[in-house]
Symmetry: C2
Subunit: 208 residues, 2 copies
């Protein structure tokens, strides 16, 4: 059981996917043990794929020390793959946190930054190849709700991030705390990281 309050940095970029971010932020945010901070390359409003804008309170330049990183996916992942400011921020900050967590295509950014090399990882099922084409030094796991490999934690698409967050909460604060978070948020947790009902859609895109 961790006693010290942890700071989670939620990393925003234009056209992030809403639930990638806000499923995990709900679960971490209801804990007394975690403070959330919102971070982007530049502070200020950041538009999601779906439209609503979140205010990033910190820029990469003035971001406080972090204990946890949460990196969402979304259609905005693609331009970010060529954003050295983002890749460098991830490279620098991931070395000093307990867990760097990605959801959905967020793992493509971690792979591009070289942070998953030599590790197991997963990604969004429908667009899996967006992640795998970023690095052939990653042991890509097709069938997984989420994958933990040391300090790097990668979730499958969108809703999988919420299950991953609860898995990390269980790791940090105990299983009872994760179950408490489920109770207060009326959430039925898929607590088995290997249960992946969406692997059958691997690389089939969104037009089935």
């Amino acid at each position: 059981m961790s006693e010290q309050k942890l700071t989670l940095g939620a990393i925003f970029y234009e056209n992030f996917e809403l639930l990638d971010m806000y499923g995990p932020l709900e679960m971490f945010g209801i804990l007394d043990q975690v403070d959330l901070v919102t971070v982007a390359e530049k502070a200020g409003p950041v538009k999601s794929t779906q439209g609503p804008k979140t205010v990033a309170d910190y820029s990469f330049a003035n971001c406080p020390p972090l204990d946890l990183i949460l990196l969402p996916g979304g259609i905005g992942t693609i331009p970010e793959l060529n954003n050295e400011a983002m890749l460098n921020f991830l490279r620098e900050r991931s070395t000093s946190v307990k867990y760097t967590m990605s959801v959905c295509t967020g793992s493509a950014l971690l792979a591009k930054a070289g942070l998953l090399d030599g590790r197991k990882a997963t990604s969004n099922k429908l667009y899996f190849s967006l992640a795998t084409m970023q690095s052939d030094k990653v042991d890509w796991v097709e069938e997984a709700r989420w994958v933990v490999d040391g300090p790097m934690v990668t979730a499958s698409g969108v809703s999988a991030g919420t299950d991953m967050a609860l898995g990390v909460i269980a790791e940090l604060f105990g299983q009872e705390k994760a179950e408490w978070a489920c109770m207060v948020s009326e959430y039925e947790w898929n607590s088995d990281a290997n249960h992946d009902p969406f692997v059958k859609y691997l690389n089939k895109g969104g037009n089935l």
Copy 2:
């Protein structure tokens, strides 16, 4: 099947619960058939219970015509129960939309506004009495993931809003569209509005 694009007004207020809002907004927001607009009493950043701020693009005064309303809950519900500007906005706008949807303690606001009188409705399980004490003219349903009564749709706590949103999507655009939304968001839908594993915590609060 609806052909016309629908506008969903997401109603923000200080200390709204993140997932109450963003679970449903993910599901509606991934549809080509729905545009999302963010609305609050005053336009500008609105802080959530968990900290992150969303930008309300419209105020109550300049909010465009809406086809759907989404009202979240959260600890901010309590002061809003005495905010006539909020209650009047809900009274005025609910008459011209297809569905007014609440999540969690949001139904306490609808009840206080008199909008649930003579109808069936549900609310957050742990704090159910916050809703029921607002009106004794509502047929409060203790065991339900969500309840549809005409144009008024009320969900149980937090995560239940996502299941409700998919139920409304199925109603508006067909079951296949709801299942497509689940696929692209890798979401395992509890599609049975009567399946409520959290009723056992009725009025037990968050300190079990």
